[in-house]
Amino acid sequence: MKGSLIIIGFFIAGVLSAYFKIIPSEIIELDFSYYALMFLMLLVGIATGINSKTWETLKKAKFTILLVPLSAIIGTCIGVSIISLVLPTISLKDSLAVGSGFGYYSLSSILISNIKGDILGVTALLSNIIREIFTLLFTPLIAKYFGKIAPIAVGGATSMDTTLPIITKYVGAEFAIISIFSGTVLTITVPIFVTFFLSL
């Protein structure tokens, strides 16, 4: 949670410094963020590959465990598709790209801003922050009424780190490994799905 606040702080600091023209507009026109993004993608790739847990969980993966991240992917896609039908201002593929952030708001919003533009990027940032906050707030209720898998799937990519403590508390420690597995799978799929939907 503290990490999220710092990240949001950096974003807001950027917004305010441009809005009040503290930063000269020449700097704004240089496209720093795309090069920084390529660098970030490389780092994320290396960090995923170097982590022995990634390969262990891939080896252990049984079909039933794979159903947990799969239910998050399919459920999210169905949900946002239905919503996009009633929202006139956002297209189906843009909605799917926002949804496939699965709560990983930093990477998804950075990707979407660079590929598609800042308006959709901010939508993705807000939407995926809301998903994380929603998980933190409603995990107790969701676990009570919808079972032990639902909070893990709702947590999306965050169920391996920021929302793992609260999820484990309400679904039990025996589901912690499933939570980490699902979060890991979804984290890996975020850049793949986001770029896929935006390239349609």
């Binding site: 950096f10 974003f11 807001i12 600091a13 950027g14 917004v15 305010l16 441009a18 700097i27 704004i28 720093f32 963020s33 920084a36 660098f39 970030l40 490389l42 780092l43 790739g45 960090a47 995923t48 590959g49 170097i50 982590n51 039933t64 947990v68 799969l70 998050a72 399919i74 459920g75 999210t76 169905i78 949900g79 239905i82 919503i83 929202l87 930093s106 950075i110 990707l111 801003s113 800042d118 308006i119 901010v122 939508t123 940032l125 809301i130 998903r131 929603f134 919808f146 079972g147 032990k148 898998i149 639902a150 893990i152 799937a153 709702v154 025996e174 850049p191 793949i192 770029t195 935006l198």
Partner: protein
């Protein structure tokens, strides 16, 4: 976009070759955090300089909220089905 995915998978391969290097792993986590901070700061600058976004923040926020609610409800539906079909019996309850 393909370039970004290529970079990601290239990174995965490099990471796989470096597997088990705990020191590098720790450094990477810190570097990623710094890269994310910087990138969101840059994006914040783009957003703050973009009047279209600032003037429509309420609409963007509304879209984001409604999309999230849709995604979460769909996820709850699917995962409840998965839980009832595949997990409930295995936990002795």
């Amino acid at each position: 976009m393909l370039l970004l995915l290529g970079i990601l998978f290239g990174g995965l391969l490099i990471g796989y070759l470096l597997k088990g290097e705990k020191k590098i792993e720790k450094w990477l986590d810190k570097l990623i955090m710094i890269a994310i901070f910087l990138l969101l700061f840059f994006i914040g600058i783009d957003v703050g300089a973009n009047e279209l976004i600032i003037n429509n923040l309420h609409k963007i926020g509304f879209n984001a909220l409604i999309l999230t609610i849709g995604g979460v409800l769909g996820t709850i539906l699917m995962s409840t089905i998965v839980y009832k079909k595949y997990f409930k019996d295995n936990t002795n309850k």
